[in-house]
């Protein structure tokens, strides 16, 4: 097993979730379709390729030695082309399919070895699923569909309908509670699917190509609905998709599957920048990464020097000018001890300040250079950065300095993007 299979520490994105505990741990998971899985398993251990195994025995290897962890509260996207085993993999997590070998630990409990009673209990209590074709029951009203999980679990009618109405309100469908699914549009039907999954208040939701059957506009809308729900109440979501834009928009981390194997796990931008295999590289080709980049993603700290707020202005500003000249830079940023950005200075502004009769801090700051918010999309600041010679400081939501964006950094990124797609 190579290093790409295990999520490295660098894989954690800027989501602030890096230290969350593992919700699901998948270890050496294998699924063989066919009547002689043991033979196929043995051949896999001997290192034979799945195509060879199929040729010799007729056994189909659906998932091959998958190992990864899903952290509590993250949206984990499983990506791959059709036939790569992603739908099989998600069905192994709640045992809609029986694993051939390996472990699936949910909150430390091995799903693969549970008996029927425990399994039903887990499905009723703590995990639910959303399907590509919505899979609503056509003979039930929207309300009864939303209440399905609760009904199965034996919750009495008044209580489950109250809860179902609550979740229907969350997805904006209260007015349609008494309708049948066939009277609803595709997007609305999937809202019902989502409501049904939310009604049991699970800590884990499995979503199998949940928005793939919707047109792009509706898909976008549903992604927002999901992200809004996630903002209010963090659940662990495993999301199967073949749409990279979707993975970038909603995924905290993604896993790329190829031919039944998980070939890379990590932060989407990280994977795009450092693809583990040619397959992954090919997968990301043609995807315009700048669409998903934020200013924070490209900001760098090695381009512009930072100086502390001076206590002795003439001495320290003098030293700053010397430093800037020695490293052949013209601009610098001032930060306070908590690393909050105070302002932007240049050699000229520092000299001007020192030339004043009573040099003060305000006199040194350039007031025409705004700070950029780290969360804003890269695209939005493109023109602003390109048209100005000076670097822009980048700050996060709390005003903490994150780095600088300069024309050079901009050019490098666009250039990388060109070569990657070539």
């Amino acid at each position: 097993m190579d290093a790409a299979l295990t999520p490295g520490p660098s894989a954690a994105g800027g989501t602030g979730e890096n230290c969350a505990p593992a919700k699901i741990v998948v270890r050496n998971l294998v699924k063989v379709f066919g009547n002689r899985p043991a033979v196929a398993l043995q051949m896999l251990e001997q290192g034979l390729h799945k195509d060879e195994i199929f040729r010799c025995t007729g056994q189909i290897v659906g998932v091959q030695d998958a190992s990864f962890e899903i952290r509590s509260g993250e949206i984990f996207v499983i990506m791959g082309l059709s036939g790569s085993g992603k739908s099989t993999l998600i069905r192994l997590l709640n045992r809609l399919l029986e694993p051939t070998s390996g472990e699936v630990l949910v909150d430390g409990q091995n799903v693969a070895s549970m008996d029927r009673r425990q399994l039903i209990d887990l499905r009723r209590r703590d995990m639910s699923m959303v399907f590509q074709s919505f899979a609503l029951m056509p003979h039930r009203t929207v309300l009864d569909n939303a209440a399905f999980g609760l009904e199965v679990a034996g919750i009495d009618k008044a209580q489950r309908e109250k809860r179902a109405l609550q979740v229907l309100e969350q997805v904006g469908l209260t007015a349609f509670a008494r309708k049948h699914p066939s009277e609803l549009s595709g997007g609305m039907q999937q809202r019902v699917g989502l409501a049904r999954a939310l009604a049991v208040d699970p800590s884990l939701m499995l979503m199998d190509e949940a928005f793939s059957a919707l047109d792009p506009l509706k898909r976008h809308e549903m992604q927002h609905v999901l992200l809004d729900l996630q903002r209010d109440h963090k659940r662990t979501i495993v999301f199967v998709s073949h749409d990279l834009d979707e993975a970038f928009r909603i995924g905290d981390r993604i896993a790329i599957m190829e031919g039944g194997s998980v070939v890379q796990v990590g932060d989407p931008h990280e994977i795009a920048r450092n693809p583990a295999t040619d397959y992954v590289r090919a997968f990301f080709r043609g995807v315009d990464l700048t669409r998903h980049l934020t200013v924070g993603d490209i900001a760098r700290t090695d381009q512009v020097p930072i100086f502390p707020v001076p206590s002795n202005i003439p001495d320290e500003f003098g030293a700053a000018i010397e430093h800037l000249r020695s490293i052949k830079r013209h601009y610098g940023f001032l930060v306070d001890p908590a690393h909050r950005l105070i302002g932007v200075v240049s050699i000229d502004s520092l000299l001007r300040c020192l030339g004043q009769s009573r040099p003060d801090l305000a006199g040194a700051l350039l007031d025409h250079v705004p700070a950029l918010a780290g969360a804003s999309p890269f695209r939005e600041v493109l023109g602003q950065v390109a048209r100005n010679p000076h670097p822009f400081p980048v700050i996060d939501g709390k005003g903490i300095y994150m780095g600088a964006v300069t024309q050079t950094i901009l050019l490098e990124h666009l250039c990388d993007e060109e070569t990657r797609n070539a």
């Binding site: 809609l96 995990m127 899979a135 029951m137 003979h139 199965v152 008494r178």
Partner: protein, 297 residues
């Protein structure tokens, strides 16, 4: 026919063996079936003709539409006016008894087939046999085992009419959308809950088509069953053939046709409504009331 392989002899020897070693089981079974069929007939005959005709026409009006309701009423008028009402009710009783038995046996068997490939593989050739063997042939063992009358008629009809109910139930359950079944399992259904809450409701259109087919096949068979003395319209059809009486043949045949159309359309309407979920009558009534009331806050 040929002595090289005396299959026919073996079958008749087997039947004789059953007859010889039967200690009242067959007789009791026959009594139960006979009592069931006769009870239904007794009710239908005891009720005044206008009441039965009116009730069925009303069902036609409610399920299909006012035109069909009118058609039902006109049909019953023709049947009563030509004097075939008692025979028609007798036939309807035979159909009802046979269909009920067929469905009570057939639908569970279909469910079992859908849940087990082994059972399906075992039952399918038997169903093929039941359906393709010329219908008259069933009358012989039925009459041998149960004598003449309603009982062998009902039994032969059950054998002939059951296969569509079994087949279409099996097919319907197997064809329920795969993701719907997965959803049922994923939300924690036990196998029983899955069957009752997902699979059977999902298979309902197909099951109802099976019910419709079973009733129609039962109708065709109970006419033939008059040959073993099951009675009803079949008797008149049989008599018209024996006497080459085209008038009697047409009149009794017309009663069969009208009964067939009425039964077909009404049972079909139940299948259609389960295919396309409509508001239940309760909801429809509620909607109607709500519309009449002045709009409140």
């Amino acid at each position: 026919m040929h002595d090289a392989l005396p299959l026919g002899q073996w079958v008749s020897q087997f039947l004789n063996f059953v007859l010889a070693h039967d200690n009242g089981t067959l007789e009791n079974l026959g009594k139960v079936i006979g009592a069931f069929a006769e009870a239904i007939e007794a009710v239908l005959v005891a009720l005044p003709d206008w009441a039965v005709a009116g009730a069925i026409s009303a069902i036609g009006l409610w399920r299909v539409g006012w035109k069909f309701g009118l058609f039902c009423a006109a049909s019953f008028f023709v049947i009563i006016a030509t004097g075939f009402w008692p025979a028609t009710m007798s036939t309807l009783a035979l159909i009802t008894a046979s269909a009920v038995i067929s469905l009570v046996l057939g639908i569970p068997l279909g469910i079992w087939m859908a849940r087990s490939d082994r059972v399906a593989a075992l039952v399918r050739p038997v169903l093929d046999f039941m359906q393709t063997m010329p219908a008259f042939v069933y009358l012989i063992p039925a009459a041998m085992l149960f004598g003449l009358g309603k009982v062998p008629g009902v039994l032969a009809t059950v054998i002939f009419a059951m296969p569509p109910a079994v087949r279409l139930t099996n097919l319907g359950i197997r064809q329920v959308n795969k993701e719907q079944v997965e959803a049922g399992i994923a939300f924690g259904c036990t196998p029983r809950q899955l069957l009752l809450k997902v699979q059977i409701p999902g298979a309902m259109p197909s099951i109802m088509a099976g019910v419709n087919q079973t009733i129609m096949m039962a109708l065709s068979m109970v006419i033939i069953a008059s040959m073993v003395g099951a009675g009803g319209l079949g008797n008149d059809v049989l008599a018209s053939i024996q006497r080459l009486d085209i008038g009697l043949g047409f009149e009794s045949g017309l009663s069969v046709v009208l009964l067939a159309i009425i039964l077909d359309r009404i049972t079909e309407s139940f299948g259609a409504s389960s295919a396309q979920p409509q508001a239940s009558w309760r909801e429809r009534a509620r909607n109607l009331m709500a519309r009449r009331q002045p709009s409140g806050p």
